[in-house]
Symmetry: C2
Subunit: 229 residues, 2 copies
């Protein structure tokens, strides 16, 4: 019989934690599945579980005061989420929805807290993640406070730039609907902005990828120095 | 001779930490002053110190990508700040400016980290603060994504409601310039919005205080159910 290793051992978050401890956490944890479009966490609900995404892809969604949905970010395999309510016992600050079929490992709040406070390395990792989230939302706030929608879109695109080994700068384009949600404008505006980047030769399109020909000009748009509207 | 107790002993953050440890931290810490309008932290700079505000009042200010200043929140006596760069070694995410003459206690990054990771109660407090900051900016994001400026202003006002022992709901009004910064609109719009709350009988003004006569109607504006423009 082939024994599959428990997924907890593959989680980056627990690296360095003794196997004996992981064994007992594995026993206390639950494995759950979610189908596509299932709500894993509902904003405003009471939550007392910490989640690890073993397989699949999830979307963090916020609902604005006036009822519109904003996609905040994507959760990838190996990442964890739900830590805010675990730390402070409050309600869920955002919703989480599965984009694809997903497999989750779930720890109770008590187990998670006991683990974190007895292993400084876990406390450190969690704090670094929280610090990252604060920075992310601070960038987000700065972006959303830009009045010009084209400039907001270009600002978000800038955060998605990757440099290939060939030194080429590329952007893997998220779905236009997601970009629209992130930048608080319509899908049409996103489509027009990307069209303008192509028309002006700042970028070229290769399937779902933007190849940046003039990254400096994109930066100038972000800084409000030039306009492409 | 009257010996003044070192201000570290009055800081809530350290409550429960043995006096012998506080003594040695007091020795390693620095006391600094800042005059009114002095920049205590500059966004984007490298920072390796954790600050505690002993006396005075500070303002956390963010600068948007297109160069405008947004007041994020106010730091009150006894609070600490600068923890992000201390945790992750990154640059300062926002600026901090003194509103009034201030006295600060400053810990080096090394001292602060060593202290936090060897005392789970401090790690817990710091995590709760970070969780609070994430929640705050998530609320902020939801607020800033509301298109109607009156609605944004009312949303921020809602977060400032206090209930007096007499059951009266009141709002201590921040300066209009601060409200304008927080809600990303002009001071004139803030002034007009508050004027409308008074004209429609939703609130009454008593010096710097708004007394809410119809808190439910304010909530309805926030939810976009009614408009007062």
């Amino acid at each position: 019989m082939l024994m599959t290793r428990h997924p907890i051992y593959s989680l980056e978050f627990f690296s360095g934690i003794p196997e004996s401890i992981l064994n007992s956490i594995a026993h206390e944890s639950q494995l759950r599945t979610a189908i596509r479009n299932q709500q894993v966490i509902t904003k405003g609900s009471l939550g007392d579980e910490l989640f690890f995404l073993i397989r699949g892809r999830l979307q963090v969604v916020d609902v604005t005061e006036d009822g519109r949905e904003l996609c905040i970010h994507i959760i990838h395999e190996g990442e964890y989420f739900g830590e805010l309510a675990v730390i402070d016992g409050g309600t869920r600050s955002t919703s989480v929805v599965s984009i694809a079929d997903a497999e989750l490992l779930v720890l109770s709040r008590a187990t998670a807290l006991q683990l974190i406070y007895s292993h400084p390395i876990l406390a450190e990792r969690l704090m670094k993640k929280l610090a990252f989230l604060v920075r992310l939302s601070s960038q987000n706030r700065a972006m959303l406070s830009i009045q010009n929608p084209f400039q907001r879109i270009c600002t978000v695109l800038t955060t998605l730039i990757r440099t290939l080994p060939s030194n080429l700068k590329v952007i893997e384009l998220p779905p236009q609907q997601s970009l629209a949600g992130m930048t608080n404008c319509s899908r049409e505006t996103v489509s027009r902005a990307i069209g303008q980047l192509l028309n002006t030769g700042i970028a070229e399109k290769d399937r779902k990828m933007l190849i940046l020909r003039e990254p400096e000009r994109l930066q100038s748009i972000v800084k409000g120095k030039i306009s492409i509207e």
